[in-house]
Symmetry: C2
Subunit: 477 residues, 2 copies
């Protein structure tokens, strides 16, 4: 085939679609190739269905607060798991449909098939060969399932299959307490399933601050079993009362027999069939080439690797950015360097877990000040029966510049955005203490932590409201 | 009495206590005088009990989302209003107790009684006369009840008496839809009380943006009756079936007979018995002297007027600031000028109502650009069945500097803090678009509004992620 495209995009997920949007502005001579189902991970099996499940589970869980509020009859509430899952799929289909609209109009410029690189500027799909001046690879990621567990494939669930279930069994194991493991373990437990969770490490959800990590674990343990520091292994066991096959999860010091296992061991880039080895650049042990995060370019080639596929940060907003960068750079003369965003990670647990900017356990951690708030006595949190969790915020000594935060706290997803803006703009503790904090809000908890940081810093001028101290009425802060 | 105090503080509410904290750092020669019950408006009859009531009412209201989520049995939930009110009072007592602790240790330095100024530096309390180099007046405010309605005093409720009720009747009127009127009307309605609300004006909750105001009204009307542009009048009517006295609320085009009336016509400074006329400065038609908001000083006198009592912004965080400023300036050589905070108002309705920075209807409104988001199709809001409301954000043309926002939107109280920080730091639309927005969060709705603003502004550089556009999948933004 003699035609040479300006750009071929491989993958029509979030990164691919973001790239497409930029490419289309600059050339009509492009092609989009997608393997498997069209629609993004986010809409199909990721962010959206998981959040829809979480919202139902959290709404049901809230009944435990009812008696204290003065609401009677909570005991007669039940949850119909098939209906929950049906709604998840119905909304999921809506969300997926909106992503499909973006590729529907492409006609012959969009083809289905698995692409394999033959070299720089050349790839094969469905036994046809295509050439392009620039190639953007955005093939996404898939849930990790250890090879040793392949024999149990039918008993194992991942987020690829969880939302497809008609119903869910009485007893489930969740293996891995990263963001997805935490979100799903808590939700499944809140749906009434007996959940037992195993995590090989001692930290969960990406947290590095020991105090926040311990608080998060303690809170989750009140809802379901959590085994930490125990690498789990699986074996199939016969169902006892003529039921189907059950699984035995064996870890160092504990074991559990469950009806089903959700594997939440993270996600891995979809690169093994891509032929990256044909690009002539060295690949690392995960089979990944060197990618400049400011251009998304592989080495100095006209090939770009964006989104989950590069294995960097597997987050939707980063994938969208990377597609944007790749789309611009695959159609421009010289690659432009993009400053990347302030790191932000959120686990949609309750209370939420979030990390902003620098982690507590990072290279410069020894030189960070920390301020802290415990939400047990925070006024608004008490009024809403959401008074649990802790938030820690980090700043540079002397300058007071905010560096980051880790938290397991009510409204974490909101407070994390406030802190992300502050960190992104290189604001100081005093800058933040100059903003208004309304009363009574959960953000006043953040203010308590900031004030604690302020006591460790040179004070601001006397006529600066940033110097306001707590009134001293703990429950009103 | 010959002793001359360095400072006398009149009023032990939020502003008085904030002043006390600063005064105590600088002198032991002070006195605190308080009239009536000790403890702050906020803790006793304001922010805290109202939010506690709102939390219970909102938790109960959430049952309407249950069926769609897959939760069954919502119809058998009931709310026990006496229990709700009991919890409100129990928590209220806790909150009040924490404020009392701050004055308990003062011994003879704290006295109960009504103070009356005799002149600059002189006042009388309980027939005793006191002199002070500086006087801080922080006497707070009280709910407005028109004089004509005094005869019905026992049928009328205000926030002073609402939380003291053992139970609440079946049908109530709420007169006035400012922040308190909205919060209480919605909560009472959500507790199962038939509520009919009257507002003399056409705008509610302090909103000035017609689009946001209309959305807020439309949303509230789905929960209870709202009569706008109708000044209400009252008369007593005999209860029909041998019950007690009921009230007829008569407005221009509508009337309602109710069991009880909550008056939510705002609050007025407690100054009528203060003897402000003895200070020798001109008072305005409300009996208030001129106060410099940057020093809290009355004219050039050593007398300071802080908190609700000066009738400026009757908000806790502003009252605390004003007490802080007055406390410092009443003990310093020359009054220091304090820059005040970015305006922020929140109505704890659902969805929340909030206003940040410049109002849409303000002097410079004609020169503001606006960006908007409707939450009906916002992805996360749909997942959580909270997809209603609108947010509008305003910026300066050309520079793109953020000026303010008005909203009736999910997570308004959180998004308003994010915008308050941005406005406070004079950030631009592009500055905000550079921050990370996680997915899926309600803050992405704000990003949609910011992006709409960005299209009206000179574009940012091509290698700036602030230039990222929507993917085009509406429900995923």
């Amino acid at each position: 085939m003699s035609e040479i495209f300006d750009v071929i995009i491989v993958g029509a997920g979030t990164a691919g679609l973001a790239a497409l949007r930029e490419v289309k502005k600059r050339t009509g001579n492009f092609m989009l190739i997608n393997d498997g189902a069209w629609g993004t991970i986010c809409a199909r099996v990721g962010c959206m269905p998981s959040k829809t499940l979480i919202e139902a589970a959290s709404a049901f869980h809230r009944r435990h607060a009812f008696e204290k509020f003065g609401i009677r009859g909570a005991a007669s509430l039940t949850i119909e798991i098939p209906a929950v899952l049906q709604r998840v799929r119905r909304l999921r289909d809506d969300f997926v449909a909106t992503t499909l609209k973006m590729t529907d109009a492409l006609g012959e410029r969009a083809i289905s098939g698995r692409a394999r690189l033959l070299g720089v500027g050349r790839l094969a799909v469905n036994d046809r060969e295509f050439s392009a001046k620039n190639i953007i690879i955005a093939t996404g990621s898939h849930p990790v399932v250890p090879d040793a567990w392949r024999p149990f494939a039918t008993q194992l669930l991942t987020t690829d299959t969880l939302f497809e279930q008609e119903t869910l069994p009485a007893r489930m194991a969740v293996i891995g307490l990263g963001p997805i493991g935490i979100e799903m373990a808590q939700s499944l437990s809140r749906l009434g399933i007996e959940v037992v969770a195993f995590e090989a490490g001692m930290n969960i959800g990406g947290l590095s601050d020991p105090r926040v990590n311990a608080t998060a674990i303690d809170i989750l343990r009140r809802e379901f079993s959590v085994h930490l520091g125990e690498k789990a292994d699986l074996e199939a066991v016969k169902g006892e009362a003529g039921g189907g096959v059950r699984m035995r999860v064996r870890a160092k010091e504990s074991e559990a027999v469950v009806d089903s296992v959700l594997v939440g061991l993270g996600r891995r880039p979809n690169v093994s069939h891509l032929g990256l080895e044909n690009l002539g650049v060295e690949l690392d042990e995960d089979g990944l080439p060197p990618v400049d995060p400011h251009t998304m370019r592989i080495s100095d080639l006209p090939v770009f690797l964006a989104g989950d596929a590069n294995g960097d940060t597997l987050l939707l907003h980063e994938a969208a950015d990377e597609g944007h960068i790749a789309g611009i750079n695959a159609t421009g003369a010289a690659p432009a360097l993009f400053a990347r965003r302030t790191p932000l990670s959120i686990v949609f647990a309750d209370p939420g877990i979030a990390m902003v900017g620098k982690r507590f356990q990072s290279k410069c951690a020894s030189n960070m000040l920390a301020g802290e708030v415990d939400f047990r006595n925070q006024g608004r949190a008490r009024a809403g029966q959401r008074n649990k969790g802790v938030l820690r915020v980090y700043a540079e000594p002397e300058s007071g510049r905010l560096l980051g935060a880790e938290m397991c706290a009510p409204a974490a997803e909101h407070i994390a955005h406030l802190l992300a803006l502050a960190v992104d703009r290189s604001l100081t503790v005093h800058d933040m203490l100059r903003m208004p904090f309304y009363h009574p809000v959960l953000e006043e908890g953040l203010r308590t932590a900031l004030r604690q940081l302020a006591t460790q810093l040179p004070s601001c001028g006397e006529s600066d409201l940033a110097g306001c101290e707590p009134l001293g009425a703990q429950a009103l802060e």
